[in-house]
């Protein structure tokens, strides 16, 4: 079974809709799911993440995370990914996701893909689809390593 960790998009303490959307897709693919909330005063979001479809919830709550900084945010996500033994880490489509995903991919020695609109898992064969060249074409990409970090377009999957 694939383990998928969803990174919660949080705006001013409120969970954005992308977490539920991504968890729903992960569940539909038959994956074991976890969600991680990173920030300050975000502990209360754990029940919402459970209700949104995550089997496991991680909360990294620290006053130092009140203002976004990509380095500490990435470290928190990597810790959660390792704790969950995540095969995939999914970010919602946001500036936070775009800033953090490449760092997480380097630290996890994972493949990285941004703006994906589809992912398929067939045994060890993992493929994604994403637009490229200013949205004029679609790329189909094969993932060659066991781990994938992805930024997912809203309503993309």
């Amino acid at each position: 079974m694939t383990n998928i960790l969803v990174v919660a998009d949080i705006k001013q303490g409120t969970l954005k809709g992308s977490a539920a959307e991504l968890l729903s897709k992960a569940k539909a693919m038959g994956a074991a799911t976890a969600a991680v909330a990173v920030g300050h005063n975000v502990a209360d979001l754990a029940p919402q993440l459970a209700a949104a479809g995550s089997d496991t919830q991680y909360v990294v709550d620290d006053p130092a995370l009140e203002l976004f900084s990509a380095g500490p945010f990435a470290a928190a996500v990597v810790d959660a990914a390792n704790a969950f033994a995540a095969d995939m880490v999914w970010f919602g489509f946001s500036e936070t996701g775009k800033a953090v995903a490449p760092r997480v991919a380097v630290q996890l020695d994972a493949a990285c893909a941004t703006e994906i609109i589809d992912v398929t898992i067939d045994g060890d064969d993992v493929r994604i689809a994403r637009p490229a060249i200013a949205n004029k074409v679609l790329q189909k990409v094969k993932v060659n390593v066991p781990k994938l970090v992805a930024v997912v377009r809203s309503r993309g999957l």
């Binding site: 990509a70 490449p102 094969k142």
Partner: protein
Amino acid sequence: MKILTTVKKVVDVELNIHVENGAIVEKGLQYVINAWDENAVEAAVQLKEAHKAETTLVSLGSTDNTDIIRKCYAMGIDNAIHIEDQALEKADSQTFAKVLQKVYEAGDYDLVITGKQAQDTDAGQAGIMLGEFLGIPCVSNVIEIKVTDDTHIQVSRLGDAGTEIVDLTLPAVVTVSDSINEPRLPAMRGIMMAKKKKITVMDLAGLGTSFEEVGGTAPKSGIVEFMAQEKRKGGQKFEGDPAEITAKVVQLLVNEAKVL
């Protein structure tokens, strides 16, 4: 201050792109400097003019990038390096970042400025990964760079909650948004002088590395095929009795769109 900036030669996205048999049709394509990299070059030249920085440009690729490098010279860049190696034709973002790491380490730079993404891949990864590989601070999507002193800069970035102000200790990497500036049109004198300037060209071996060492022979992902984007279907317009229309639309949402 020594600044390294990066430029990539990319397909001109203003032209029509055609796909056949899973590949981009090369016929009719034109190649230009990546628009965000042009913003990076402009940012570097502005720092040079305001703070007497030394600016070096590096361009990676398997093609002749002389035209875009000359354009950057005409904009005011001091030095240019072209890593020209056929192996880079199929390199992914991580491999490009590893090559840039080698260039950085050979040059003792204080600041790296890259475009936030390339308009061919739209990936937005290489600059951030470069910072990660180097273990130095990196801020992405930057819209302003201010020099605080010889070892510090302050940058503004567009984040999810608005504009974020970040103090950075050099050396550092920043990736810039197209909101940071309006790239200048080179003056005729600059264009003429650019023709005489030397471009340092080397392959990966000349850089002291190999395609294997930078991860190119074992890419973490690879493009299998390209597909044309499906054209968006036209919408439907409903007129008549509101109750009948509502029932019909709900029926379509349930049975055709399957969103309810």
